[in-house]
Amino acid sequence: MAGRLSRWLVFAGVAAIPLLLVVAPIGTFLAISMFRAEKHIMNYTPTVANYAEFFGNWTYFGTYLGTILLCFQVMALSILIGYPMAWFIWRQKGSRRYYLLLLAVVPLFMSYIVKLYTLRSMLGLNGLISQMLIGIGILEKPSQIFLFNQRAVLITMAVIYMPFVILPIFLALERIPRSLLQASFDLGASGWDTFRRIVLPLSLPGTIAGALFTFVLALGDFITPQMVGGTTGFTIGRVIYSQFGLAYNWPFGAAMAAVLFLTALAGIVLAGIAMSRQKI
Protein backbone atom coordinates (compact mmCIF):
# COMPACT_ATOMS: atom_id res chain seq x y z
CA MET A 1 0.00 0.00 0.00
CA ALA A 2 1.26 3.42 -0.94
CA GLY A 3 2.23 5.79 1.83
CA ARG A 4 -0.02 8.56 3.07
CA LEU A 5 1.89 11.34 1.33
CA SER A 6 2.01 9.62 -2.04
CA ARG A 7 -1.72 8.87 -1.83
CA TRP A 8 -2.39 12.57 -1.32
CA LEU A 9 -0.11 13.36 -4.25
CA VAL A 10 -2.02 10.99 -6.53
CA PHE A 11 -5.29 12.50 -5.29
CA ALA A 12 -4.03 15.99 -6.08
CA GLY A 13 -2.96 14.91 -9.56
CA VAL A 14 -6.20 13.17 -10.42
CA ALA A 15 -8.54 15.65 -8.79
CA ALA A 16 -6.79 18.71 -10.24
CA ILE A 17 -8.73 18.80 -13.49
CA PRO A 18 -12.26 18.30 -12.07
CA LEU A 19 -11.42 20.79 -9.32
CA LEU A 20 -10.22 23.33 -11.85
CA LEU A 21 -13.09 22.86 -14.30
CA VAL A 22 -16.01 22.33 -11.93
CA VAL A 23 -15.34 23.37 -8.34
CA ALA A 24 -13.31 26.51 -9.06
CA PRO A 25 -15.92 27.99 -11.46
CA ILE A 26 -18.75 27.31 -9.00
CA GLY A 27 -16.62 28.85 -6.24
CA THR A 28 -15.94 31.89 -8.43
CA PHE A 29 -19.58 32.56 -9.16
CA LEU A 30 -20.48 32.12 -5.49
CA ALA A 31 -17.71 34.61 -4.63
CA ILE A 32 -18.90 37.10 -7.27
CA SER A 33 -22.36 37.00 -5.67
CA MET A 34 -20.83 38.65 -2.59
CA PHE A 35 -19.61 41.70 -4.53
CA ARG A 36 -21.47 44.62 -6.06
CA ALA A 37 -21.57 45.99 -9.56
CA GLU A 38 -21.83 49.75 -9.39
CA LYS A 39 -22.41 51.35 -12.78
CA HIS A 40 -20.80 48.32 -14.45
CA ILE A 41 -17.69 48.62 -12.25
CA MET A 42 -17.03 45.84 -9.79
CA ASN A 43 -16.70 46.76 -6.13
CA TYR A 44 -14.79 43.96 -4.42
CA THR A 45 -15.93 44.64 -0.85
CA PRO A 46 -17.79 41.56 0.44
CA THR A 47 -21.45 42.26 1.13
CA VAL A 48 -24.77 40.43 1.27
CA ALA A 49 -26.53 43.33 -0.47
CA ASN A 50 -27.33 41.24 -3.56
CA TYR A 51 -29.07 38.62 -1.42
CA ALA A 52 -30.89 41.33 0.55
CA GLU A 53 -32.08 42.83 -2.71
CA PHE A 54 -33.28 39.45 -3.96
CA PHE A 55 -35.20 38.48 -0.83
CA GLY A 56 -36.44 42.02 -0.18
CA ASN A 57 -37.80 42.78 -3.63
CA TRP A 58 -41.03 40.95 -4.39
CA THR A 59 -40.42 41.26 -8.16
CA TYR A 60 -37.52 38.84 -7.77
CA PHE A 61 -38.50 36.75 -4.77
CA GLY A 62 -42.08 36.39 -6.03
CA THR A 63 -40.75 35.21 -9.39
CA TYR A 64 -38.60 32.67 -7.56
CA LEU A 65 -41.57 31.33 -5.57
CA GLY A 66 -43.67 31.31 -8.74
CA THR A 67 -40.96 29.27 -10.48
CA ILE A 68 -40.92 26.74 -7.62
CA LEU A 69 -44.69 26.41 -7.91
CA LEU A 70 -44.40 25.99 -11.69
CA CYS A 71 -41.76 23.27 -11.21
CA PHE A 72 -44.06 21.38 -8.84
CA GLN A 73 -46.83 21.60 -11.44
CA VAL A 74 -44.48 20.32 -14.16
CA MET A 75 -43.52 17.49 -11.79
CA ALA A 76 -47.15 16.58 -11.08
CA LEU A 77 -48.22 16.73 -14.72
CA SER A 78 -45.22 14.67 -15.84
CA ILE A 79 -45.99 11.92 -13.34
CA LEU A 80 -49.70 11.95 -14.13
CA ILE A 81 -48.90 11.28 -17.80
CA GLY A 82 -45.54 9.52 -17.47
CA TYR A 83 -46.55 6.89 -14.91
CA PRO A 84 -49.34 5.32 -17.01
CA MET A 85 -46.98 5.37 -20.01
CA ALA A 86 -44.16 3.65 -18.12
CA TRP A 87 -46.68 1.16 -16.72
CA PHE A 88 -48.04 0.42 -20.19
CA ILE A 89 -44.55 -0.13 -21.63
CA TRP A 90 -43.65 -2.34 -18.66
CA ARG A 91 -46.77 -4.50 -19.27
CA GLN A 92 -45.62 -5.35 -22.80
CA LYS A 93 -43.58 -8.46 -23.45
CA GLY A 94 -40.27 -9.27 -25.10
CA SER A 95 -38.75 -7.05 -27.73
CA ARG A 96 -41.92 -4.95 -28.06
CA ARG A 97 -41.29 -3.64 -24.57
CA TYR A 98 -37.71 -2.72 -25.49
CA TYR A 99 -38.71 -0.92 -28.68
CA LEU A 100 -41.45 1.06 -26.94
CA LEU A 101 -38.96 2.12 -24.27
CA LEU A 102 -36.56 3.14 -27.02
CA LEU A 103 -39.31 5.23 -28.65
CA ALA A 104 -39.89 6.94 -25.31
CA VAL A 105 -36.22 7.70 -24.70
CA VAL A 106 -34.99 8.77 -28.18
CA PRO A 107 -36.79 12.18 -28.02
CA LEU A 108 -34.38 13.04 -25.18
CA PHE A 109 -31.69 13.36 -27.80
CA MET A 110 -33.72 15.35 -30.31
CA SER A 111 -32.72 18.99 -30.61
CA TYR A 112 -34.08 21.01 -27.72
CA ILE A 113 -34.55 24.19 -29.78
CA VAL A 114 -36.42 22.30 -32.50
CA LYS A 115 -38.74 20.71 -29.93
CA LEU A 116 -39.48 24.15 -28.50
CA TYR A 117 -40.35 25.65 -31.87
CA THR A 118 -42.55 22.71 -32.82
CA LEU A 119 -44.47 22.91 -29.55
CA ARG A 120 -44.78 26.64 -29.94
CA SER A 121 -46.36 26.26 -33.35
CA MET A 122 -48.66 23.52 -32.03
CA LEU A 123 -49.83 25.68 -29.12
CA GLY A 124 -50.17 28.82 -31.24
CA LEU A 125 -53.11 30.65 -32.78
CA ASN A 126 -53.58 28.30 -35.73
CA GLY A 127 -51.83 25.41 -34.04
CA LEU A 128 -52.92 21.82 -33.67
CA ILE A 129 -54.40 22.27 -30.17
CA SER A 130 -56.62 25.19 -31.20
CA GLN A 131 -57.75 23.40 -34.35
CA MET A 132 -58.57 20.24 -32.42
CA LEU A 133 -60.62 22.10 -29.82
CA ILE A 134 -62.52 23.89 -32.60
CA GLY A 135 -63.03 20.51 -34.26
CA ILE A 136 -64.72 19.01 -31.19
CA GLY A 137 -66.65 22.21 -30.57
CA ILE A 138 -65.02 23.42 -27.34
CA LEU A 139 -63.63 26.58 -28.95
CA GLU A 140 -65.46 28.74 -31.44
CA LYS A 141 -62.50 30.47 -33.05
CA PRO A 142 -58.72 30.09 -32.94
CA SER A 143 -57.43 31.12 -29.54
CA GLN A 144 -54.19 32.43 -28.17
CA ILE A 145 -54.88 31.08 -24.65
CA PHE A 146 -52.30 28.30 -25.00
CA LEU A 147 -49.35 30.46 -25.86
CA PHE A 148 -47.29 33.17 -24.17
CA ASN A 149 -48.35 32.48 -20.58
CA GLN A 150 -47.45 30.26 -17.61
CA ARG A 151 -49.76 27.50 -18.88
CA ALA A 152 -47.79 27.29 -22.12
CA VAL A 153 -44.52 27.00 -20.16
CA LEU A 154 -46.06 24.24 -18.02
CA ILE A 155 -47.30 22.18 -20.98
CA THR A 156 -44.09 22.62 -22.97
CA MET A 157 -41.81 21.66 -20.07
CA ALA A 158 -43.96 18.65 -19.20
CA VAL A 159 -43.70 17.40 -22.80
CA ILE A 160 -39.98 18.09 -23.19
CA TYR A 161 -39.03 16.47 -19.88
CA MET A 162 -41.48 13.53 -20.18
CA PRO A 163 -38.77 10.97 -21.15
CA PHE A 164 -36.84 11.88 -17.97
CA VAL A 165 -39.86 10.69 -15.94
CA ILE A 166 -40.76 7.62 -17.98
CA LEU A 167 -37.27 6.09 -17.84
CA PRO A 168 -36.75 5.99 -14.03
CA ILE A 169 -40.34 4.83 -13.44
CA PHE A 170 -39.89 2.05 -15.98
CA LEU A 171 -36.58 1.00 -14.41
CA ALA A 172 -38.24 0.90 -10.98
CA LEU A 173 -41.14 -1.19 -12.32
CA GLU A 174 -38.74 -3.56 -14.08
CA ARG A 175 -36.98 -4.37 -10.79
CA ILE A 176 -40.15 -5.77 -9.24
CA PRO A 177 -39.72 -9.57 -9.22
CA ARG A 178 -42.33 -11.41 -11.27
CA SER A 179 -42.70 -13.88 -8.38
CA LEU A 180 -44.26 -11.15 -6.22
CA LEU A 181 -46.95 -10.46 -8.82
CA GLN A 182 -47.51 -14.19 -9.29
CA ALA A 183 -47.83 -14.70 -5.53
CA SER A 184 -50.32 -11.84 -5.28
CA PHE A 185 -52.36 -13.35 -8.10
CA ASP A 186 -52.22 -16.83 -6.55
CA LEU A 187 -53.44 -15.46 -3.23
CA GLY A 188 -56.52 -14.16 -5.01
CA ALA A 189 -55.75 -10.43 -5.17
CA SER A 190 -57.40 -8.53 -8.00
CA GLY A 191 -55.36 -6.64 -10.58
CA TRP A 192 -56.17 -3.37 -8.84
CA ASP A 193 -55.17 -4.73 -5.41
CA THR A 194 -51.87 -6.01 -6.80
CA PHE A 195 -51.19 -2.64 -8.35
CA ARG A 196 -52.14 -0.66 -5.26
CA ARG A 197 -50.38 -2.83 -2.69
CA ILE A 198 -47.34 -4.14 -4.58
CA VAL A 199 -46.57 -2.37 -7.85
CA LEU A 200 -47.23 1.19 -6.74
CA PRO A 201 -45.34 1.10 -3.40
CA LEU A 202 -42.35 -0.67 -4.95
CA SER A 203 -42.11 1.76 -7.86
CA LEU A 204 -42.58 4.84 -5.69
CA PRO A 205 -38.87 5.59 -4.99
CA GLY A 206 -38.02 5.54 -8.73
CA THR A 207 -41.05 7.69 -9.46
CA ILE A 208 -40.07 10.27 -6.85
CA ALA A 209 -36.48 10.33 -8.13
CA GLY A 210 -37.69 10.87 -11.71
CA ALA A 211 -40.04 13.62 -10.56
CA LEU A 212 -37.27 15.41 -8.69
CA PHE A 213 -34.96 15.31 -11.71
CA THR A 214 -37.75 16.90 -13.74
CA PHE A 215 -38.08 19.52 -11.02
CA VAL A 216 -34.37 20.37 -11.24
CA LEU A 217 -34.46 20.52 -15.05
CA ALA A 218 -37.50 22.78 -15.07
CA LEU A 219 -35.99 24.98 -12.36
CA GLY A 220 -32.99 26.09 -14.39
CA ASP A 221 -34.56 26.23 -17.85
CA PHE A 222 -34.46 29.76 -19.22
CA ILE A 223 -35.05 29.22 -22.93
CA THR A 224 -38.47 27.51 -22.68
CA PRO A 225 -40.04 30.38 -20.69
CA GLN A 226 -38.49 32.85 -23.08
CA MET A 227 -39.87 31.11 -26.16
CA VAL A 228 -43.41 30.22 -25.05
CA GLY A 229 -43.85 32.23 -21.86
CA GLY A 230 -44.42 35.72 -23.26
CA THR A 231 -44.58 38.52 -20.71
CA THR A 232 -46.39 36.61 -17.94
CA GLY A 233 -44.29 33.45 -18.14
CA PHE A 234 -41.34 34.85 -16.24
CA THR A 235 -39.19 32.37 -14.33
CA ILE A 236 -36.12 32.85 -12.16
CA GLY A 237 -33.91 31.27 -14.84
CA ARG A 238 -35.01 33.93 -17.27
CA VAL A 239 -34.35 36.71 -14.73
CA ILE A 240 -30.86 35.32 -14.02
CA TYR A 241 -30.08 35.05 -17.72
CA SER A 242 -31.09 38.67 -18.29
CA GLN A 243 -28.58 39.76 -15.62
CA PHE A 244 -25.85 38.23 -17.76
CA GLY A 245 -27.23 39.86 -20.89
CA LEU A 246 -29.20 43.09 -21.21
CA ALA A 247 -29.54 43.98 -17.51
CA TYR A 248 -25.81 43.32 -17.11
CA ASN A 249 -25.46 42.91 -13.36
CA TRP A 250 -23.34 39.79 -12.91
CA PRO A 251 -23.06 39.84 -9.09
CA PHE A 252 -26.83 40.14 -8.68
CA GLY A 253 -27.38 37.39 -11.28
CA ALA A 254 -24.81 35.24 -9.45
CA ALA A 255 -26.62 35.76 -6.12
CA MET A 256 -29.93 34.61 -7.63
CA ALA A 257 -28.13 31.70 -9.30
CA ALA A 258 -26.69 30.76 -5.88
CA VAL A 259 -30.22 30.45 -4.50
CA LEU A 260 -31.18 28.40 -7.56
CA PHE A 261 -28.06 26.26 -7.07
CA LEU A 262 -29.01 25.47 -3.46
CA THR A 263 -32.61 24.69 -4.43
CA ALA A 264 -31.40 22.34 -7.18
CA LEU A 265 -28.92 20.72 -4.79
CA ALA A 266 -31.77 20.08 -2.32
CA GLY A 267 -33.74 18.43 -5.13
CA ILE A 268 -30.78 16.25 -6.13
CA VAL A 269 -30.09 15.18 -2.53
CA LEU A 270 -33.78 14.30 -2.01
CA ALA A 271 -33.72 12.26 -5.25
CA GLY A 272 -30.64 10.42 -3.96
CA ILE A 273 -32.40 9.64 -0.68
CA ALA A 274 -35.48 8.43 -2.58
CA MET A 275 -33.34 6.11 -4.70
CA SER A 276 -31.53 4.67 -1.68
CA ARG A 277 -34.95 3.84 -0.21
CA GLN A 278 -35.55 1.49 -3.13
CA LYS A 279 -36.16 -1.77 -1.26
CA ILE A 280 -35.69 -4.13 -4.18
Binding site: A24, M110, V114, L128, Q131, S190, D221, A257, A264
Partner: protein, 267 residues
Amino acid sequence: MRSTGERIAEFAAGTLTAIVFIILYAPLIIGVLFSVVQIRQGRILWETFSVSPYVTLWSNQSVLSALSNTAIVALASVVIASVLAILLALYTEWEGAIGRRFIELVIYLPFLLPPIVTGLSLLVSSAQLGINRGLLTIVVGHTVFVLAVAYRLVLTRLQALPKSLVEASFDLGAGRWQTLRYVLMPHLASAVMTGAVLALTLSFDETLISTFVAGDQMTLPLRLWAMMRVGFTPEINALVTLVLLVSIAFALIAAWRLRPKGEVEED
Protein backbone atom coordinates in the same frame (compact mmCIF):
# COMPACT_ATOMS: atom_id res chain seq x y z
CA MET B 1 -56.53 -14.14 -17.58
CA ARG B 2 -56.90 -10.40 -17.53
CA SER B 3 -59.97 -8.85 -16.00
CA THR B 4 -62.05 -6.27 -17.85
CA GLY B 5 -60.74 -3.57 -15.53
CA GLU B 6 -57.16 -4.38 -16.43
CA ARG B 7 -57.98 -4.37 -20.12
CA ILE B 8 -59.60 -0.96 -19.85
CA ALA B 9 -56.63 0.40 -17.88
CA GLU B 10 -54.20 -1.00 -20.41
CA PHE B 11 -56.19 0.39 -23.33
CA ALA B 12 -56.35 3.85 -21.74
CA ALA B 13 -52.62 3.86 -20.94
CA GLY B 14 -51.86 2.63 -24.46
CA THR B 15 -53.91 5.41 -26.02
CA LEU B 16 -52.18 7.98 -23.83
CA THR B 17 -48.78 6.56 -24.83
CA ALA B 18 -49.67 6.77 -28.52
CA ILE B 19 -50.82 10.41 -28.22
CA VAL B 20 -47.70 11.47 -26.31
CA PHE B 21 -45.49 9.65 -28.84
CA ILE B 22 -47.13 11.57 -31.67
CA ILE B 23 -46.47 14.87 -29.86
CA LEU B 24 -42.87 13.85 -29.03
CA TYR B 25 -42.15 12.94 -32.64
CA ALA B 26 -44.03 15.87 -34.16
CA PRO B 27 -40.79 17.87 -34.66
CA LEU B 28 -39.45 15.16 -36.94
CA ILE B 29 -42.71 14.67 -38.86
CA ILE B 30 -43.20 18.42 -39.37
CA GLY B 31 -39.53 18.97 -40.25
CA VAL B 32 -39.48 16.26 -42.90
CA LEU B 33 -42.79 17.32 -44.42
CA PHE B 34 -42.19 21.07 -44.50
CA SER B 35 -38.71 20.70 -45.93
CA VAL B 36 -39.91 19.14 -49.17
CA VAL B 37 -43.41 20.52 -49.77
CA GLN B 38 -45.18 23.82 -49.18
CA ILE B 39 -48.29 24.10 -47.08
CA ARG B 40 -50.98 26.74 -47.60
CA GLN B 41 -54.04 27.11 -45.39
CA GLY B 42 -53.57 23.71 -43.84
CA ARG B 43 -53.37 21.92 -47.18
CA ILE B 44 -50.30 20.16 -48.49
CA LEU B 45 -49.36 21.26 -51.99
CA TRP B 46 -47.78 18.09 -53.32
CA GLU B 47 -46.93 19.72 -56.66
CA THR B 48 -44.39 21.94 -54.87
CA PHE B 49 -42.36 18.87 -53.88
CA SER B 50 -38.64 19.60 -54.09
CA VAL B 51 -35.44 18.57 -52.36
CA SER B 52 -33.63 21.76 -53.36
CA PRO B 53 -33.64 23.14 -49.74
CA TYR B 54 -31.22 20.35 -48.89
CA VAL B 55 -28.96 21.39 -51.75
CA THR B 56 -28.96 25.13 -50.94
CA LEU B 57 -28.06 24.26 -47.36
CA TRP B 58 -24.62 23.20 -48.58
CA SER B 59 -23.90 26.65 -49.92
CA ASN B 60 -25.03 28.42 -46.73
CA GLN B 61 -21.75 29.61 -45.24
CA SER B 62 -23.11 30.34 -41.74
CA VAL B 63 -24.62 26.86 -41.47
CA LEU B 64 -21.40 25.22 -42.65
CA SER B 65 -19.26 27.15 -40.17
CA ALA B 66 -21.69 26.30 -37.34
CA LEU B 67 -21.48 22.67 -38.43
CA SER B 68 -17.70 22.67 -38.34
CA ASN B 69 -17.73 24.37 -34.91
CA THR B 70 -20.11 21.74 -33.61
CA ALA B 71 -17.92 18.96 -34.99
CA ILE B 72 -14.74 20.44 -33.48
CA VAL B 73 -16.39 20.99 -30.08
CA ALA B 74 -17.99 17.55 -30.04
CA LEU B 75 -14.80 15.71 -31.00
CA ALA B 76 -12.55 17.68 -28.65
CA SER B 77 -14.86 17.44 -25.65
CA VAL B 78 -15.62 13.76 -26.21
CA VAL B 79 -11.94 12.82 -26.50
CA ILE B 80 -10.96 14.86 -23.43
CA ALA B 81 -13.94 13.54 -21.43
CA SER B 82 -13.15 9.92 -22.40
CA VAL B 83 -9.51 10.19 -21.33
CA LEU B 84 -10.52 11.90 -18.07
CA ALA B 85 -13.23 9.28 -17.50
CA ILE B 86 -10.73 6.41 -17.78
CA LEU B 87 -8.26 8.18 -15.48
CA LEU B 88 -10.90 9.04 -12.88
CA ALA B 89 -12.55 5.61 -12.97
CA LEU B 90 -9.18 3.88 -12.51
CA TYR B 91 -8.54 6.19 -9.58
CA THR B 92 -11.90 5.75 -7.81
CA GLU B 93 -11.62 1.97 -8.19
CA TRP B 94 -8.08 1.95 -6.75
CA GLU B 95 -8.19 0.76 -3.14
CA GLY B 96 -5.76 3.47 -2.01
CA ALA B 97 -8.04 6.23 -3.29
CA ILE B 98 -8.90 9.07 -0.96
CA GLY B 99 -11.80 11.46 -1.43
CA ARG B 100 -13.58 8.94 -3.67
CA ARG B 101 -17.10 10.21 -2.87
CA PHE B 102 -15.99 13.80 -3.31
CA ILE B 103 -14.51 13.15 -6.77
CA GLU B 104 -17.65 11.31 -7.87
CA LEU B 105 -19.80 14.20 -6.65
CA VAL B 106 -17.70 16.67 -8.64
CA ILE B 107 -17.97 14.50 -11.77
CA TYR B 108 -21.76 14.13 -11.55
CA LEU B 109 -22.50 17.71 -10.47
CA PRO B 110 -22.46 19.45 -13.89
CA PHE B 111 -24.71 16.74 -15.30
CA LEU B 112 -27.23 16.95 -12.46
CA LEU B 113 -27.22 20.69 -11.84
CA PRO B 114 -29.30 23.01 -14.02
CA PRO B 115 -27.12 23.88 -17.05
CA ILE B 116 -27.63 27.58 -16.25
CA VAL B 117 -25.41 27.13 -13.14
CA THR B 118 -22.65 25.34 -15.08
CA GLY B 119 -22.90 27.87 -17.89
CA LEU B 120 -22.72 31.01 -15.83
CA SER B 121 -20.04 29.69 -13.49
CA LEU B 122 -17.80 29.00 -16.50
CA LEU B 123 -18.68 32.40 -17.94
CA VAL B 124 -17.83 34.24 -14.72
CA SER B 125 -14.61 32.34 -14.07
CA SER B 126 -13.30 32.65 -17.64
CA ALA B 127 -14.01 36.40 -17.51
CA GLN B 128 -12.10 36.63 -14.22
CA LEU B 129 -9.17 34.79 -15.78
CA GLY B 130 -9.30 37.04 -18.83
CA ILE B 131 -10.08 34.17 -21.21
CA ASN B 132 -12.12 35.22 -24.21
CA ARG B 133 -15.29 33.30 -24.88
CA GLY B 134 -15.07 31.06 -27.91
CA LEU B 135 -14.53 27.47 -28.98
CA LEU B 136 -12.22 26.79 -26.02
CA THR B 137 -14.83 27.76 -23.44
CA ILE B 138 -17.52 25.78 -25.28
CA VAL B 139 -15.24 22.72 -25.27
CA VAL B 140 -14.70 23.10 -21.50
CA GLY B 141 -18.47 23.45 -20.93
CA HIS B 142 -19.28 20.37 -22.99
CA THR B 143 -16.45 18.34 -21.45
CA VAL B 144 -17.64 18.80 -17.86
CA PHE B 145 -21.23 18.16 -19.00
CA VAL B 146 -20.58 14.84 -20.79
CA LEU B 147 -17.90 13.59 -18.39
CA ALA B 148 -20.51 12.07 -16.06
CA VAL B 149 -21.86 9.81 -18.80
CA ALA B 150 -18.42 8.66 -19.98
CA TYR B 151 -17.27 8.08 -16.39
CA ARG B 152 -20.37 6.11 -15.40
CA LEU B 153 -19.99 3.68 -18.32
CA VAL B 154 -16.25 3.11 -17.78
CA LEU B 155 -16.75 2.65 -14.02
CA THR B 156 -19.55 0.09 -14.47
CA ARG B 157 -17.34 -1.93 -16.81
CA LEU B 158 -14.35 -1.67 -14.50
CA GLN B 159 -16.40 -2.88 -11.53
CA ALA B 160 -17.64 -5.86 -13.55
CA LEU B 161 -14.07 -7.03 -14.30
CA PRO B 162 -12.81 -9.78 -11.99
CA LYS B 163 -10.01 -8.60 -9.68
CA SER B 164 -8.05 -11.73 -10.55
CA LEU B 165 -7.45 -10.33 -14.04
CA VAL B 166 -5.16 -7.59 -12.76
CA GLU B 167 -3.57 -9.88 -10.15
CA ALA B 168 -2.76 -12.46 -12.83
CA SER B 169 -1.20 -9.77 -14.97
CA PHE B 170 1.04 -8.65 -12.09
CA ASP B 171 1.93 -12.26 -11.23
CA LEU B 172 3.04 -12.82 -14.80
CA GLY B 173 5.47 -9.96 -14.40
CA ALA B 174 3.63 -7.17 -16.22
CA GLY B 175 4.17 -3.65 -14.96
CA ARG B 176 1.43 -1.12 -14.16
CA TRP B 177 1.54 0.44 -17.60
CA GLN B 178 1.60 -2.91 -19.39
CA THR B 179 -1.36 -4.11 -17.30
CA LEU B 180 -3.31 -0.99 -18.21
CA ARG B 181 -2.37 -1.15 -21.88
CA TYR B 182 -2.73 -4.89 -22.55
CA VAL B 183 -5.17 -6.11 -19.89
CA LEU B 184 -7.51 -3.32 -18.83
CA MET B 185 -7.80 -1.20 -21.98
CA PRO B 186 -9.06 -3.99 -24.28
CA HIS B 187 -11.82 -4.67 -21.75
CA LEU B 188 -12.68 -1.01 -21.30
CA ALA B 189 -12.60 -0.11 -25.01
CA SER B 190 -16.23 -0.90 -25.83
CA ALA B 191 -17.52 0.92 -22.73
CA VAL B 192 -15.43 3.94 -23.68
CA MET B 193 -16.85 3.82 -27.20
CA THR B 194 -20.46 3.62 -25.97
CA GLY B 195 -19.78 6.52 -23.63
CA ALA B 196 -18.25 8.46 -26.51
CA VAL B 197 -21.31 7.96 -28.71
CA LEU B 198 -23.64 9.09 -25.91
CA ALA B 199 -21.39 12.05 -25.16
CA LEU B 200 -21.29 12.97 -28.85
CA THR B 201 -25.10 12.96 -28.95
CA LEU B 202 -25.30 15.20 -25.90
CA SER B 203 -22.66 17.61 -27.16
CA PHE B 204 -24.32 17.81 -30.60
CA ASP B 205 -27.55 19.18 -29.06
CA GLU B 206 -26.20 21.08 -26.08
CA THR B 207 -27.75 24.55 -26.03
CA LEU B 208 -28.13 25.93 -22.51
CA ILE B 209 -24.46 25.90 -21.43
CA SER B 210 -23.31 26.98 -24.91
CA THR B 211 -25.53 30.07 -24.78
CA PHE B 212 -23.44 31.36 -21.89
CA VAL B 213 -19.96 30.47 -23.06
CA ALA B 214 -20.16 30.70 -26.86
CA GLY B 215 -19.36 34.40 -27.21
CA ASP B 216 -19.64 35.19 -30.93
CA GLN B 217 -19.00 31.61 -31.99
CA MET B 218 -22.00 29.62 -33.23
CA THR B 219 -22.71 25.96 -32.77
CA LEU B 220 -25.41 24.24 -34.80
CA PRO B 221 -28.19 24.53 -32.16
CA LEU B 222 -27.35 28.21 -31.63
CA ARG B 223 -27.34 28.88 -35.39
CA LEU B 224 -30.65 27.04 -35.76
CA TRP B 225 -32.13 29.13 -32.95
CA ALA B 226 -30.97 32.34 -34.60
CA MET B 227 -32.42 31.22 -37.94
CA MET B 228 -35.76 30.19 -36.45
CA ARG B 229 -36.19 33.57 -34.78
CA VAL B 230 -36.39 35.17 -38.20
CA GLY B 231 -38.97 32.80 -39.62
CA PHE B 232 -39.42 29.41 -41.19
CA THR B 233 -38.19 28.55 -44.64
CA PRO B 234 -37.97 25.14 -46.30
CA GLU B 235 -34.20 25.49 -45.85
CA ILE B 236 -34.55 25.71 -42.05
CA ASN B 237 -36.84 22.69 -42.08
CA ALA B 238 -34.27 20.82 -44.13
CA LEU B 239 -31.61 21.68 -41.54
CA VAL B 240 -34.00 20.66 -38.72
CA THR B 241 -34.60 17.32 -40.44
CA LEU B 242 -30.88 16.65 -40.86
CA VAL B 243 -30.07 17.64 -37.28
CA LEU B 244 -32.85 15.42 -35.89
CA LEU B 245 -31.86 12.47 -38.06
CA VAL B 246 -28.22 12.74 -36.99
CA SER B 247 -29.10 12.86 -33.28
CA ILE B 248 -31.58 10.00 -33.61
CA ALA B 249 -28.95 7.95 -35.44
CA PHE B 250 -26.43 8.63 -32.63
CA ALA B 251 -29.05 7.75 -29.99
CA LEU B 252 -29.92 4.49 -31.77
CA ILE B 253 -26.26 3.49 -32.03
CA ALA B 254 -25.87 4.13 -28.30
CA ALA B 255 -29.07 2.22 -27.54
CA TRP B 256 -27.94 -0.70 -29.69
CA ARG B 257 -24.62 -0.85 -27.85
CA LEU B 258 -26.39 -0.70 -24.48
CA ARG B 259 -29.14 -3.20 -25.40
CA PRO B 260 -29.86 -5.89 -22.82
CA LYS B 261 -28.02 -9.02 -23.85
CA GLY B 262 -28.97 -12.64 -23.24
CA GLU B 263 -32.30 -11.78 -21.67
CA VAL B 264 -34.35 -14.75 -20.58
CA GLU B 265 -37.99 -14.59 -21.61
CA GLU B 266 -40.24 -14.72 -18.59
CA ASP B 267 -43.74 -16.15 -18.20
